[in-house]
Amino acid sequence: MTELRDRQPAGDAIGPAAPALEVRMAIYKMMVQMRDFEKRAYDLFLQGLVKGTSHLGLGQEAVAAGFAAAMLPSDYTFATYRGHNHTLARGAPMAAVMAELMGRRAGLMAGKGGSMHLTSVEHRMMGSYAIVGAHLTIANGAAWSSKLRRAGEVAVCFFGDGTTNIGAFHEALNLAAVWKLPVVFVCENNRWMEYTPISSVTAVGHPAADRARAYGLDPVLVDGNDADQTYGAARVAIERARSGGGPALIEAETYRHGGHSRADPGKYRPDEEVEAWLARDPIPRYRTRLLGVGVDEAVLVRIEEEAQTAVDAAAREAEASPPPDLSLVEADLWADGGSSWRR
């Protein structure tokens, strides 16, 4: 197991050591909002208001926030079912995301997708994908299109450690490398697939980093609970991709605070492991760092209070939304609106 020490940014590989203050403030705000949003989503799940399933990224906020802060508005995000944070990070409105989790008309996709498929093309959040692995190949497609269109857009694709063992991962990485695509693959290694430790089912210690060379790529391993590191690594990889340098594969070591999904308490994980990682919670850690560089605590408290207020408002708005119109069942299968398979 990798040691749980704070890693130092190791020079070039993860970029400039300290992001500018306004970036750091934006990252902090984003992380706090995500945290509050997901805690609320969990409460609403337990109350039966969020339906079906829900996969929280609690504890993994520094990945979503660090990367989003390094992306241009025109860059693309591809995420998994564990995609609330990535969706919010690109600017999708909280209320619409919450309403989607609740299956309401005001949902981001009017309830048609649900929590595992959050998509907001307007924010270049190109989808959350619930079949492990597929979206790595799709992110390639967006990057390929950007390249052919000379658009300068970069695709950033997030996935878990468990995803590195499925075939699509391999196909996607190889094609990205061969075609030198502007795509950045980000493995959020939270050490567990669903209830199985990744180390018990993977031939190498670092499921992504130890495989980079198989695609002619340099291994990049970052502390995924340190938003400065994720931001730094993102900057380097995204800029290189944008300027024609091809893809990157980044492994960000992190941990989910809760269970895999729904009400799973995650009890299968050793207590010490959970405790060690809770002690490295990216949010208090970042807060301490900001205070350390002289940020006024009152400013942080204001951010925290505003986040609560925003989440309260979003939850209220979502709850007030009615269920989707039943006509939607047969809508949007095709561009002509209907689901008509016959003429």
Binding site: G103, V201, E330
Partner: protein, 331 residues
């Protein structure tokens, strides 16, 4: 069931899965079980709790997220002396390993002129109704039915889970075993002791002379509810639980159609090329002159399943739509 000394216990469909697997692993040391999170965690649906403790890590194996590797392992093991049971967590995930199912496992006995036998079972959680959205809710038993070389089973009761699973494990050929995930919490009587059923036999769950409803898995209880509603209006229907799509018990369906003259199929599949189409086409070919009304298919519309509860409920065949389907068949 019950009666004459047979001890009967109420059990969930979910628990029946572990019971069925354990029955066969106890009996035959060549039966092994593998899949994602099936061992230590007891499965994401908690349908395989206790098997790892009971049979140990050699016979109950947790795998990486590698569905092709899972089914390849099952296939290679089956051709060399084991009888594997593989789990594909959600039937939607067949799409990432369909090559193993459709091109390899299904075709190998045939292509090798019978040299290679593949006694294996692939269990999977099928179907909607639990608000999981389009990629975790599909009913894809028709995908399997369309591929020659696969047997296709889908129980609707806890007892049938045990009996049909045992039959599947003992079968010398590959069986795709669809557990309907909306049925996991449902309960039913299961007799004590060994239960072994026969593949390819439908069960008449209710008898009536006015129309025949053919259903499968979660649509069986729903068809029975519809039958109650119709009975209130004086329409008595037969409800046939197919239990197995391949082999298909055409005789039972045909005999009922001869009696009632009216046929309604109820599928969770989206409309096009669902198994109901096959049943309808068989009856239209072999029993056309016994029909006194149109063959009506009640299906999910030809759309992916939406996630929101209101939308999903509207998409899946409801009791009201089944009732309506029977009425249309009687016109």
């Amino acid at each position: 069931m019950g009666g004459r000394g047979v001890v009967v216990a109420e059990m969930t469909y979910r628990d029946a899965v572990a019971r069925g697997i354990a029955q066969e692993m106890d009996r035959d040391p060549s039966v092994v079980f593998l899949g994602e999170d099936v061992g230590a965690a007891g499965g994401v649906f908690k349908a395989t709790v206790g098997l790892l403790d009971r049979f140990g890590p050699e016979r109950v194996s947790d795998t990486p997220i590698s569905e092709q590797a899972i089914l390849g392992a099952a296939m290679g093991a089956a051709m060399t002396g084991l009888r594997p049971i593989a789990e594909i967590m959600f039937s939607d995930f067949f799409a990432v390993c369909w090559d193993l199912v459709a091109n390899e496992i299904a075709k190998t006995r045939y292509m090798t002129h019978g040299q290679v036998a593949l006694p294996l079972v692939i269990r999977t959680a099928n179907g909607g109704g639990v608000r999981f959205g389009a990629q975790h809710s599909q009913s894809v038993e028709n995908w399997a039915m369309a591929v020659p070389g696969l047997k296709v089973v889908a129980p609707s009761t806890p007892r049938d889970v045990v009996g049909l699973l045992a039959a599947a494990v003992r079968d010398p050929d590959p069986v795709i075993f669809f557990e309907q995930k909306s049925l996991y919490p449902t309960k039913g009587d299961v007799p004590d002791g060994e239960i072994v059923d026969t593949l390819g036999t439908a069960a008449v769950r209710r008898h009536g002379k006015d129309a025949t409803i053919v259903a499968l898995a979660a649509m069986v209880p729903r068809a029975l509810e519809a039958a109650d509603v119709l009975a209130g209006d004086g329409v008595e229907v037969t409800v046939i639980d197919l239990r197995s799509l391949v082999p298909l018990d055409v005789a039972t369906v045909a005999a009922s159609v001869v009696e009632t003259g009216h046929l309604v199929t109820v599928e969770e599949n989206p409309r096009l090329c669902g198994w109901g189409a096959e049943v309808a086409s068989i009856v239209a070919e072999e029993r056309l002159f016994d029909l006194d009304g149109p063959i009506v298919r009640v299906t999910t519309p030809h759309v992916p399943l939406p996630a929101a509860d209101a939308l999903e409920d509207a998409a899946l065949p409801s009791v009201a739509r089944i009732v309506d389907g029977v009425r249309r068949s009687l016109l």
